[in-house]
Symmetry: C2
Subunit: 213 residues, 2 copies
Protein backbone atom coordinates (compact mmCIF):
# COMPACT_ATOMS: atom_id res chain seq x y z
CA UNK A 1 0.00 0.00 0.00
CA UNK A 2 1.10 3.55 -0.75
CA UNK A 3 2.08 5.68 2.24
CA UNK A 4 0.62 9.20 2.49
CA UNK A 5 3.98 10.64 1.34
CA UNK A 6 4.08 8.32 -1.69
CA UNK A 7 0.50 9.16 -2.55
CA UNK A 8 1.33 12.87 -2.32
CA UNK A 9 4.33 12.46 -4.57
CA UNK A 10 2.51 10.41 -7.18
CA UNK A 11 -0.35 12.94 -7.14
CA UNK A 12 2.09 15.81 -7.64
CA UNK A 13 3.90 13.96 -10.44
CA UNK A 14 0.64 13.20 -12.20
CA UNK A 15 -0.52 16.82 -11.92
CA UNK A 16 2.86 17.97 -13.18
CA UNK A 17 3.01 15.74 -16.25
CA UNK A 18 -0.68 16.12 -17.20
CA UNK A 19 -0.66 19.90 -16.86
CA UNK A 20 2.54 20.13 -18.93
CA UNK A 21 0.71 18.32 -21.74
CA UNK A 22 -2.37 20.53 -21.33
CA UNK A 23 -0.38 23.79 -21.33
CA UNK A 24 1.56 22.59 -24.41
CA UNK A 25 -1.68 21.80 -26.21
CA UNK A 26 -3.83 24.80 -25.26
CA UNK A 27 -1.46 27.44 -23.84
CA UNK A 28 -1.30 28.89 -20.34
CA UNK A 29 -4.47 30.96 -20.76
CA UNK A 30 -6.35 28.07 -22.37
CA UNK A 31 -6.11 25.69 -19.41
CA UNK A 32 -8.03 25.83 -16.12
CA UNK A 33 -7.38 24.11 -12.79
CA UNK A 34 -10.70 22.35 -13.39
CA UNK A 35 -9.33 20.74 -16.58
CA UNK A 36 -6.16 19.65 -14.81
CA UNK A 37 -8.29 18.03 -12.12
CA UNK A 38 -10.40 16.24 -14.74
CA UNK A 39 -7.33 14.92 -16.60
CA UNK A 40 -5.63 13.65 -13.46
CA UNK A 41 -8.79 12.23 -11.90
CA UNK A 42 -8.29 14.38 -8.78
CA UNK A 43 -10.56 17.00 -7.24
CA UNK A 44 -9.94 20.72 -7.82
CA UNK A 45 -9.07 21.15 -4.14
CA UNK A 46 -6.54 18.29 -4.28
CA UNK A 47 -4.93 19.95 -7.29
CA UNK A 48 -4.77 23.23 -5.37
CA UNK A 49 -3.35 21.44 -2.34
CA UNK A 50 -0.54 19.84 -4.38
CA UNK A 51 0.16 22.47 -6.98
CA UNK A 52 -1.01 25.80 -5.61
CA UNK A 53 -2.22 28.38 -8.12
CA UNK A 54 -2.19 27.82 -11.88
CA UNK A 55 0.52 30.49 -12.15
CA UNK A 56 2.67 28.75 -9.54
CA UNK A 57 2.21 25.40 -11.28
CA UNK A 58 3.14 26.80 -14.69
CA UNK A 59 6.23 28.54 -13.28
CA UNK A 60 7.36 25.33 -11.57
CA UNK A 61 7.02 23.48 -14.88
CA UNK A 62 9.22 25.91 -16.76
CA UNK A 63 11.65 26.38 -13.86
CA UNK A 64 12.06 22.62 -13.85
CA UNK A 65 12.75 22.65 -17.61
CA UNK A 66 15.37 25.40 -17.27
CA UNK A 67 17.04 23.61 -14.38
CA UNK A 68 17.16 20.33 -16.29
CA UNK A 69 18.63 22.13 -19.29
CA UNK A 70 21.27 23.89 -17.21
CA UNK A 71 22.21 20.70 -15.39
CA UNK A 72 22.62 18.94 -18.70
CA UNK A 73 25.09 21.50 -20.07
CA UNK A 74 26.78 22.37 -16.76
CA UNK A 75 29.67 19.92 -17.02
CA UNK A 76 30.39 21.11 -20.55
CA UNK A 77 30.24 24.81 -19.64
CA UNK A 78 32.38 24.29 -16.52
CA UNK A 79 35.10 22.65 -18.61
CA UNK A 80 35.43 25.63 -20.97
CA UNK A 81 38.38 27.57 -19.54
CA UNK A 82 40.75 29.97 -21.30
CA UNK A 83 43.01 27.11 -22.41
CA UNK A 84 40.11 25.48 -24.24
CA UNK A 85 39.00 28.77 -25.81
CA UNK A 86 42.49 29.49 -27.14
CA UNK A 87 42.72 26.07 -28.80
CA UNK A 88 40.60 26.15 -31.96
CA UNK A 89 40.13 22.37 -32.19
CA UNK A 90 39.18 21.94 -28.55
CA UNK A 91 36.93 25.01 -28.57
CA UNK A 92 35.02 23.79 -31.60
CA UNK A 93 34.71 20.34 -30.08
CA UNK A 94 33.10 21.58 -26.85
CA UNK A 95 30.78 23.90 -28.79
CA UNK A 96 29.66 20.92 -30.89
CA UNK A 97 29.09 18.88 -27.73
CA UNK A 98 27.07 21.71 -26.25
CA UNK A 99 24.96 21.98 -29.38
CA UNK A 100 24.38 18.24 -29.38
CA UNK A 101 23.22 18.27 -25.74
CA UNK A 102 20.86 21.20 -26.31
CA UNK A 103 19.38 19.49 -29.34
CA UNK A 104 18.95 16.22 -27.42
CA UNK A 105 17.22 18.13 -24.65
CA UNK A 106 14.82 19.72 -27.14
CA UNK A 107 14.17 16.31 -28.67
CA UNK A 108 13.44 14.67 -25.32
CA UNK A 109 11.10 17.48 -24.25
CA UNK A 110 9.06 18.26 -27.34
CA UNK A 111 6.34 19.96 -25.23
CA UNK A 112 8.90 22.56 -24.19
CA UNK A 113 9.14 24.07 -27.65
CA UNK A 114 5.36 24.21 -28.05
CA UNK A 115 4.99 25.74 -24.58
CA UNK A 116 7.46 28.52 -25.35
CA UNK A 117 6.22 29.31 -28.86
CA UNK A 118 2.70 29.60 -27.47
CA UNK A 119 4.04 32.07 -24.95
CA UNK A 120 5.55 34.12 -27.82
CA UNK A 121 1.99 34.66 -28.98
CA UNK A 122 0.56 35.53 -25.57
CA UNK A 123 0.06 39.19 -24.65
CA UNK A 124 2.41 40.60 -21.97
CA UNK A 125 1.40 39.21 -18.57
CA UNK A 126 2.54 38.36 -15.06
CA UNK A 127 4.72 35.44 -16.22
CA UNK A 128 6.88 37.32 -18.67
CA UNK A 129 9.53 38.74 -16.31
CA UNK A 130 10.24 35.38 -14.73
CA UNK A 131 10.48 33.68 -18.13
CA UNK A 132 12.93 36.37 -19.27
CA UNK A 133 15.09 35.89 -16.14
CA UNK A 134 15.31 32.15 -16.69
CA UNK A 135 16.19 32.46 -20.38
CA UNK A 136 18.74 35.23 -19.85
CA UNK A 137 20.52 33.30 -17.11
CA UNK A 138 21.79 30.70 -19.59
CA UNK A 139 22.32 33.32 -22.32
CA UNK A 140 24.62 35.28 -20.00
CA UNK A 141 26.72 32.21 -19.29
CA UNK A 142 27.09 31.48 -22.99
CA UNK A 143 27.85 35.13 -23.78
CA UNK A 144 30.63 35.19 -21.17
CA UNK A 145 32.35 32.31 -22.97
CA UNK A 146 31.90 33.83 -26.42
CA UNK A 147 33.11 37.25 -25.23
CA UNK A 148 36.27 35.55 -23.99
CA UNK A 149 36.61 33.99 -27.46
CA UNK A 150 36.35 37.45 -29.00
CA UNK A 151 38.96 38.84 -26.58
CA UNK A 152 41.39 36.11 -27.63
CA UNK A 153 40.66 36.83 -31.30
CA UNK A 154 39.23 33.32 -31.83
CA UNK A 155 35.75 34.59 -32.72
CA UNK A 156 34.88 37.49 -35.03
CA UNK A 157 34.87 40.68 -32.97
CA UNK A 158 31.90 42.13 -34.88
CA UNK A 159 29.55 39.21 -34.19
CA UNK A 160 26.38 40.32 -32.38
CA UNK A 161 26.48 37.79 -29.52
CA UNK A 162 22.95 38.50 -28.31
CA UNK A 163 21.33 37.77 -31.66
CA UNK A 164 23.70 34.88 -32.29
CA UNK A 165 22.55 33.09 -29.13
CA UNK A 166 18.91 34.12 -29.44
CA UNK A 167 18.78 32.99 -33.09
CA UNK A 168 20.13 29.63 -32.10
CA UNK A 169 17.11 29.17 -29.82
CA UNK A 170 14.76 30.59 -32.45
CA UNK A 171 16.00 28.02 -34.98
CA UNK A 172 15.56 25.13 -32.56
CA UNK A 173 12.07 26.20 -31.48
CA UNK A 174 10.99 26.77 -35.09
CA UNK A 175 12.35 23.42 -36.21
CA UNK A 176 10.50 21.43 -33.56
CA UNK A 177 7.25 23.36 -33.80
CA UNK A 178 6.97 24.02 -37.54
CA UNK A 179 8.76 20.86 -38.70
CA UNK A 180 11.88 19.77 -40.55
CA UNK A 181 12.48 21.47 -43.87
CA UNK A 182 11.54 19.50 -46.96
CA UNK A 183 11.43 20.65 -50.60
CA UNK A 184 8.27 18.68 -51.42
CA UNK A 185 5.94 19.11 -48.48
CA UNK A 186 7.72 21.88 -46.53
CA UNK A 187 7.02 20.43 -43.06
CA UNK A 188 8.51 17.01 -42.41
CA UNK A 189 8.65 15.09 -39.12
CA UNK A 190 11.14 16.90 -36.83
CA UNK A 191 11.69 13.79 -34.68
CA UNK A 192 12.67 11.49 -37.56
CA UNK A 193 16.38 10.75 -37.06
CA UNK A 194 17.38 11.48 -40.65
CA UNK A 195 15.74 14.92 -40.51
CA UNK A 196 17.25 15.62 -37.09
CA UNK A 197 20.69 14.74 -38.41
CA UNK A 198 20.37 17.13 -41.36
CA UNK A 199 19.17 19.94 -39.10
CA UNK A 200 22.00 19.27 -36.63
CA UNK A 201 24.50 19.57 -39.47
CA UNK A 202 22.96 22.94 -40.36
CA UNK A 203 23.30 24.11 -36.75
CA UNK A 204 26.97 22.99 -36.68
CA UNK A 205 27.45 24.95 -39.89
CA UNK A 206 25.65 27.98 -38.42
CA UNK A 207 27.96 28.00 -35.38
CA UNK A 208 31.15 27.62 -37.44
CA UNK A 209 30.26 30.21 -40.06
CA UNK A 210 28.84 32.83 -37.72
CA UNK A 211 31.75 32.60 -35.26
CA UNK A 212 34.22 32.26 -38.15
CA UNK A 213 35.99 29.76 -35.94
CA UNK B 1 -24.90 56.98 -52.41
CA UNK B 2 -22.94 53.75 -52.77
CA UNK B 3 -23.80 51.63 -55.81
CA UNK B 4 -24.44 47.91 -55.30
CA UNK B 5 -20.96 47.15 -56.70
CA UNK B 6 -19.33 49.62 -54.31
CA UNK B 7 -21.27 48.24 -51.39
CA UNK B 8 -20.18 44.73 -52.35
CA UNK B 9 -16.56 45.78 -52.56
CA UNK B 10 -16.54 47.65 -49.26
CA UNK B 11 -18.29 44.68 -47.59
CA UNK B 12 -15.67 42.32 -48.99
CA UNK B 13 -12.81 44.61 -47.91
CA UNK B 14 -14.21 44.90 -44.41
CA UNK B 15 -14.66 41.14 -44.09
CA UNK B 16 -11.14 40.64 -45.38
CA UNK B 17 -9.41 43.05 -43.00
CA UNK B 18 -11.48 42.14 -39.92
CA UNK B 19 -11.08 38.41 -40.42
CA UNK B 20 -7.31 38.82 -40.93
CA UNK B 21 -7.14 40.47 -37.49
CA UNK B 22 -9.36 37.78 -35.96
CA UNK B 23 -7.35 34.90 -37.42
CA UNK B 24 -4.11 36.58 -36.26
CA UNK B 25 -5.50 36.95 -32.74
CA UNK B 26 -7.23 33.58 -32.26
CA UNK B 27 -5.95 31.30 -35.02
CA UNK B 28 -7.85 29.66 -37.87
CA UNK B 29 -9.60 27.13 -35.63
CA UNK B 30 -10.44 29.77 -33.03
CA UNK B 31 -12.56 31.98 -35.31
CA UNK B 32 -16.09 31.30 -36.58
CA UNK B 33 -18.03 32.89 -39.44
CA UNK B 34 -20.42 34.13 -36.74
CA UNK B 35 -17.61 36.14 -35.10
CA UNK B 36 -16.55 37.61 -38.43
CA UNK B 37 -20.16 38.69 -39.01
CA UNK B 38 -20.32 40.27 -35.55
CA UNK B 39 -17.05 42.19 -36.04
CA UNK B 40 -18.01 43.52 -39.45
CA UNK B 41 -21.62 44.27 -38.52
CA UNK B 42 -22.90 42.07 -41.34
CA UNK B 43 -25.14 39.03 -41.20
CA UNK B 44 -23.72 35.51 -41.38
CA UNK B 45 -25.37 34.99 -44.77
CA UNK B 46 -23.85 38.24 -46.13
CA UNK B 47 -20.43 37.05 -44.98
CA UNK B 48 -21.03 33.72 -46.73
CA UNK B 49 -22.21 35.53 -49.85
CA UNK B 50 -19.06 37.71 -50.00
CA UNK B 51 -16.43 35.39 -48.63
CA UNK B 52 -17.66 31.83 -49.12
CA UNK B 53 -16.49 29.26 -46.58
CA UNK B 54 -14.14 30.05 -43.69
CA UNK B 55 -11.51 27.88 -45.39
CA UNK B 56 -11.87 29.79 -48.67
CA UNK B 57 -11.64 33.10 -46.86
CA UNK B 58 -8.51 32.10 -44.95
CA UNK B 59 -6.83 30.80 -48.09
CA UNK B 60 -7.62 34.05 -49.96
CA UNK B 61 -6.02 36.01 -47.11
CA UNK B 62 -2.78 34.08 -47.21
CA UNK B 63 -2.76 33.85 -51.03
CA UNK B 64 -3.06 37.62 -51.05
CA UNK B 65 -0.12 37.94 -48.65
CA UNK B 66 2.06 35.62 -50.76
CA UNK B 67 1.15 37.48 -53.94
CA UNK B 68 1.96 40.85 -52.38
CA UNK B 69 5.28 39.50 -51.13
CA UNK B 70 6.18 38.05 -54.51
CA UNK B 71 5.20 41.24 -56.33
CA UNK B 72 7.37 43.24 -53.97
CA UNK B 73 10.49 41.19 -54.65
CA UNK B 74 9.76 40.40 -58.31
CA UNK B 75 11.69 43.32 -59.83
CA UNK B 76 14.71 42.46 -57.70
CA UNK B 77 14.59 38.75 -58.51
CA UNK B 78 14.10 39.41 -62.23
CA UNK B 79 17.21 41.60 -62.29
CA UNK B 80 19.48 38.86 -60.88
CA UNK B 81 21.06 37.33 -63.98
CA UNK B 82 24.35 35.44 -64.34
CA UNK B 83 26.30 38.68 -64.78
CA UNK B 84 25.06 39.93 -61.42
CA UNK B 85 25.76 36.62 -59.68
CA UNK B 86 29.35 36.56 -61.00
CA UNK B 87 30.05 40.05 -59.68
CA UNK B 88 30.53 39.84 -55.89
CA UNK B 89 29.71 43.49 -55.19
CA UNK B 90 26.58 43.54 -57.31
CA UNK B 91 25.40 40.15 -56.05
CA UNK B 92 25.74 41.23 -52.42
CA UNK B 93 23.96 44.50 -53.18
CA UNK B 94 20.87 42.83 -54.66
CA UNK B 95 20.76 40.29 -51.84
CA UNK B 96 20.80 43.16 -49.34
CA UNK B 97 18.00 44.89 -51.26
CA UNK B 98 16.00 41.68 -51.25
CA UNK B 99 16.49 41.27 -47.51
CA UNK B 100 15.45 44.86 -46.92
CA UNK B 101 12.24 44.43 -48.95
CA UNK B 102 11.32 41.20 -47.17
CA UNK B 103 11.88 42.83 -43.81
CA UNK B 104 9.79 45.86 -44.80
CA UNK B 105 7.03 43.54 -45.90
CA UNK B 106 7.09 41.74 -42.54
CA UNK B 107 7.03 45.07 -40.77
CA UNK B 108 4.06 46.36 -42.74
CA UNK B 109 2.09 43.15 -42.23
CA UNK B 110 2.68 42.22 -38.60
CA UNK B 111 -0.44 40.01 -38.55
CA UNK B 112 1.22 37.79 -41.15
CA UNK B 113 3.89 36.55 -38.77
CA UNK B 114 1.34 35.83 -36.03
CA UNK B 115 -0.92 34.06 -38.53
CA UNK B 116 1.88 31.76 -39.68
CA UNK B 117 3.35 30.99 -36.26
CA UNK B 118 -0.14 30.05 -35.07
CA UNK B 119 -0.37 27.69 -38.00
CA UNK B 120 2.93 26.09 -36.93
CA UNK B 121 1.13 25.03 -33.77
CA UNK B 122 -2.00 23.75 -35.49
CA UNK B 123 -2.37 20.01 -36.09
CA UNK B 124 -2.13 18.84 -39.73
CA UNK B 125 -5.30 19.85 -41.58
CA UNK B 126 -6.86 20.65 -44.95
CA UNK B 127 -4.94 23.95 -45.28
CA UNK B 128 -1.44 22.58 -44.92
CA UNK B 129 -0.76 21.48 -48.51
CA UNK B 130 -1.80 24.81 -49.99
CA UNK B 131 0.32 26.74 -47.45
CA UNK B 132 3.30 24.54 -48.31
CA UNK B 133 2.81 25.18 -52.05
CA UNK B 134 2.73 28.93 -51.56
CA UNK B 135 5.82 29.00 -49.34
CA UNK B 136 7.82 26.64 -51.55
CA UNK B 137 7.07 28.67 -54.67
CA UNK B 138 9.21 31.59 -53.44
CA UNK B 139 11.78 29.25 -51.85
CA UNK B 140 12.32 27.54 -55.22
CA UNK B 141 12.94 30.87 -56.96
CA UNK B 142 15.48 31.87 -54.33
CA UNK B 143 17.14 28.46 -54.42
CA UNK B 144 17.54 28.67 -58.22
CA UNK B 145 19.52 31.90 -57.78
CA UNK B 146 21.66 30.53 -54.95
CA UNK B 147 22.33 27.29 -56.83
CA UNK B 148 23.63 29.39 -59.72
CA UNK B 149 25.86 31.19 -57.19
CA UNK B 150 27.22 27.82 -56.07
CA UNK B 151 27.83 26.73 -59.68
CA UNK B 152 29.89 29.87 -60.28
CA UNK B 153 31.82 29.27 -57.06
CA UNK B 154 30.54 32.53 -55.53
CA UNK B 155 28.72 30.76 -52.67
CA UNK B 156 30.01 27.90 -50.53
CA UNK B 157 29.23 24.63 -52.26
CA UNK B 158 28.44 22.86 -49.00
CA UNK B 159 25.78 25.32 -47.84
CA UNK B 160 22.43 23.62 -47.25
CA UNK B 161 20.24 25.94 -49.34
CA UNK B 162 16.93 24.64 -48.02
CA UNK B 163 17.78 25.26 -44.38
CA UNK B 164 19.51 28.52 -45.25
CA UNK B 165 16.32 29.93 -46.81
CA UNK B 166 13.96 28.34 -44.29
CA UNK B 167 16.03 29.64 -41.36
CA UNK B 168 15.87 33.12 -42.79
CA UNK B 169 12.06 32.95 -42.55
CA UNK B 170 12.23 31.33 -39.11
CA UNK B 171 14.37 34.20 -37.83
CA UNK B 172 12.01 36.84 -39.22
CA UNK B 173 8.88 35.16 -37.86
CA UNK B 174 10.50 34.63 -34.45
CA UNK B 175 11.70 38.23 -34.27
CA UNK B 176 8.28 39.73 -34.97
CA UNK B 177 6.32 37.32 -32.81
CA UNK B 178 8.63 36.85 -29.82
CA UNK B 179 10.20 40.32 -29.90
CA UNK B 180 13.56 42.00 -30.45
CA UNK B 181 16.44 40.64 -28.41
CA UNK B 182 17.40 42.60 -25.33
CA UNK B 183 19.86 41.67 -22.55
CA UNK B 184 17.70 43.13 -19.76
CA UNK B 185 14.14 42.16 -20.53
CA UNK B 186 14.66 39.60 -23.34
CA UNK B 187 11.65 40.72 -25.42
CA UNK B 188 11.80 44.29 -26.68
CA UNK B 189 9.46 46.01 -29.17
CA UNK B 190 10.14 44.49 -32.62
CA UNK B 191 8.66 47.51 -34.44
CA UNK B 192 10.89 50.11 -32.74
CA UNK B 193 13.21 51.42 -35.47
CA UNK B 194 16.40 51.06 -33.43
CA UNK B 195 15.63 47.41 -32.68
CA UNK B 196 14.68 46.75 -36.29
CA UNK B 197 17.95 48.25 -37.46
CA UNK B 198 20.00 46.02 -35.15
CA UNK B 199 18.10 42.93 -36.27
CA UNK B 200 18.52 43.91 -39.94
CA UNK B 201 22.27 44.16 -39.40
CA UNK B 202 22.24 40.66 -37.94
CA UNK B 203 20.35 39.35 -40.96
CA UNK B 204 22.86 41.03 -43.31
CA UNK B 205 25.61 39.37 -41.29
CA UNK B 206 23.79 36.02 -41.43
CA UNK B 207 23.57 36.18 -45.24
CA UNK B 208 27.23 37.18 -45.71
CA UNK B 209 28.65 34.65 -43.29
CA UNK B 210 26.51 31.69 -44.31
CA UNK B 211 27.05 32.25 -48.04
CA UNK B 212 30.70 33.16 -47.41
CA UNK B 213 30.20 35.78 -50.10
Amino acid sequence: METVAEKDRSGRDRIFSESTKLFAAYGYEGVSTRQIAAETGLSVSTVHHHAGSKRGLYLRIIENLYEKEEELVETILDAIDDEVIKDRERFLKVLDQLLERLLEFAQENPERQRLYVMRWLAPPDELRDREADLTLRLYHRLAAILTRGQQFGMIRGDLNLGYFIRSFDWLIFSYFVSGAFNWQQLRADPLCSENLEEFKQYLFDYVRQMLDL
